[in-house]
Subunit: 460 residues, 2 copies
Amino acid sequence: MDYIYLSDLFSNVIELKGKDIKLKGWIKNHRKQKEFGFIYFSDGTCFKQLQLVYDKELKNFEEIQKIKIGSAIEVIGELIESQGGGQEYELKVKELKLHGDCTDDYPIQPKQHSMEFLREQSYLRLRTNTFQAVFRIRSVASMAIHEFFQSRGFIYAHTPIFTASDCEGAGEMFRVTTQDLNKIVKTGKVENEKEYFGKPVGLTVSGQFEGEAFAQAFSKIYTFGPTFRADPSHTPLHIAEFWQIEPEVAFCDLEGIMDISEDFMKFIIKYTLDRCPDEFKFLDKFVENGLIEKLIKVISNKFVRATYKECIEILQKADIKFQFKPEYGEDLAKEHERYITDYFKCPVFITYWPQKVKKCFYMKQMDDGTVANADLEMPGIGETYGMSQREDDFDKLDKYITELGMDKSEYIWYMNLRKYGTTTHSGFGMGFERLIMYMTGMTNIRDVIAFPRTPGNCLY
Amino acid sequence: MDYIYLSDLFSNVIELKGKDIKLKGWIKNHRKQKEFGFIYFSDGTCFKQLQLVYDKELKNFEEIQKIKIGSAIEVIGELIESQGGGQEYELKVKELKLHGDCTDDYPIQPKQHSMEFLREQSYLRLRTNTFQAVFRIRSVASMAIHEFFQSRGFIYAHTPIFTASDCEGAGEMFRVTTQDLNKIVKTGKVENEKEYFGKPVGLTVSGQFEGEAFAQAFSKIYTFGPTFRADPSHTPLHIAEFWQIEPEVAFCDLEGIMDISEDFMKFIIKYTLDRCPDEFKFLDKFVENGLIEKLIKVISNKFVRATYKECIEILQKADIKFQFKPEYGEDLAKEHERYITDYFKCPVFITYWPQKVKKCFYMKQMDDGTVANADLEMPGIGETYGMSQREDDFDKLDKYITELGMDKSEYIWYMNLRKYGTTTHSGFGMGFERLIMYMTGMTNIRDVIAFPRTPGNCLY
């Protein structure tokens, strides 16, 4: 008899009612009574679990009663309307056998575990309700990203992880080496020419520059892959390895990339809400009250666009005493961001920041000392990600790179993109984990990536 | 006037015929005559190019004649049926202006460039016909991968890039460090405890193990992300950074994973053939004659399954003198693989190899000294990728890990998956670039990944 997945069972309950069904999965909970037993069963293919009811009629009743939580089982039974409360359907067991046993030291028990404890069991925490919800949403949101871009004709660009740029500066860059560090101690010399690549390289912090090369060939492209920062900050928002989404669009100005950005956010949220109702209900109840309402608000309202200058004026007129005085030419503090999103009561693109605040050499320089960029501020969390029109003028780029004291030789190819058929072009860079935090209500970035890498932590 | 993309133009020619249209893109070729000019125009959104025809009536005729190949332009014109041969439609130009100039040293000219030359211009080669075809196919095939798995309920798992396993052995693993190598020379000591992670880590060679942890929680999962090997081989098949697809499926045996594997290959090929007809026609003509026929054969035939033992017998009976004598217990040589696919005239899963040939500790051990694995051999290229049922018995795994002299402490978590509700489970690991080579006919792996990383080469 073929087995079916729980996701298929729940989407076909009407047809399957009264029929015998075979399932394979794991025991999440097991309540035993003298004549009966109840098993909460999941195969991880959907958020819903199924209650299995077995009784003394089964010839292996006593063996079944010994099966421990966490064990893998195979079960055949009839799908019936549930006698008890709490669920619509249950399985009246006809055969149940152990597939894979679980030892007594199994750390995941049907009780509340702390997030800290679960982080130390990251290979097992995927089996808990919270992480089942978070990682199904993460997977569906990933698909939403591909759907969004591919249906609009964007090319998926796999930009490189190894990078030759900025690998000597290395402030926030991880360095890759094939030299034996102990050998360096022994010989007393660094032999970069013996490196795999013949020179030092690092791990990319962004695929933007290569993405721009793609956009100058295909017009519309996106990246979606891992990027790295050796940021030593111990905060719930920082992590060494994270996934980024970085579209680049030729013949597109700042207004254009804000349009794409807004459509993108709304699409991802709606797509995921539609496909994970049980997961969002659970998170709304146990992780962030009001989560669903918050997300629906985002998809139903037009985002506001306000210049940095306008925002400074709003802040300066505000009837509130800020810890940091808002001043033109200074960065916005968290309290300022919060005030702005409260003021507009919706997501806000803050546009055209002073160049000296942003100091990003690749942002398009305007005549008034600002750059053609925008940061998207979301109510409740503040800045989520940035976007900009890219500097398309070779000479301006050249001059600013010199001014910032950067090693120009590394950027010649990037600058050349401005010599060979340059275009008005723009892009954004979004940290995927930040988006998933926002969508799930999880407050620590370590809990939205399966195997988080943070200072001092690299498990498995 | 809003501009449209060339891909939208070509899918709506009937409606657009006779209408004025605005386009933005690049000049691929420019033929000038006294009274006329012809521009081959592309915006990279589809493989087809459009011919723009302009004449002396335009007031900036002389300026237009000076516009160089590679330049970005904006053009308005009427879509008309083509007067000349070679194309169905062309644009009769009414306005044409330069958007971004191109300097005379532009390396990509409308002539045949060698692959070697183009590799040195990897940020520009994306603009050539061949790479437009290859990278559009790569993008569409990526989408096919997500479609295939997501529509079957698989969870997309982002497995980590930084890994703590096997980072001391480091045979083929890149090591990551935040130590300053020059400081090691100065102080004369390696301070692993000062590393970002507090210990040495490496770049993953595979997401399989973490994928197994995911599968034991969600039943069906897949990875699709970059992996790394510091393999110093200078061959057209080896590369340091490549993307892998690694599904893992709980409650699935070797037969099951072969079924998925076969469905997967056929789905990806069909999906991509359907969506990139122009690209495949081009590659069939200029890169591999018979490419389309080869691919259609793959999707229309059932793959054969033959045991390693059967294959050895076929090879031993063969009426041919091999350079290497086929013998039970030895690996198959390229010539053997070729004979087997010629013999069956279709893709062949070679199954149940002797454990001592494969030496993979995670493959399910059978009673006869074989393992429950399969290599898929494709006509013309031989072994493409492998799959196996995973060893689900804690004690057997433990014993073999000891026998192979591996550092057991690194694998405790992986072994524990066999203690906590173990399942019959299987997976495969496919190198994405190898698949794209097979699908495009490209013979060097450096030409199917945009920015290839090989020994001595890390451009940008």
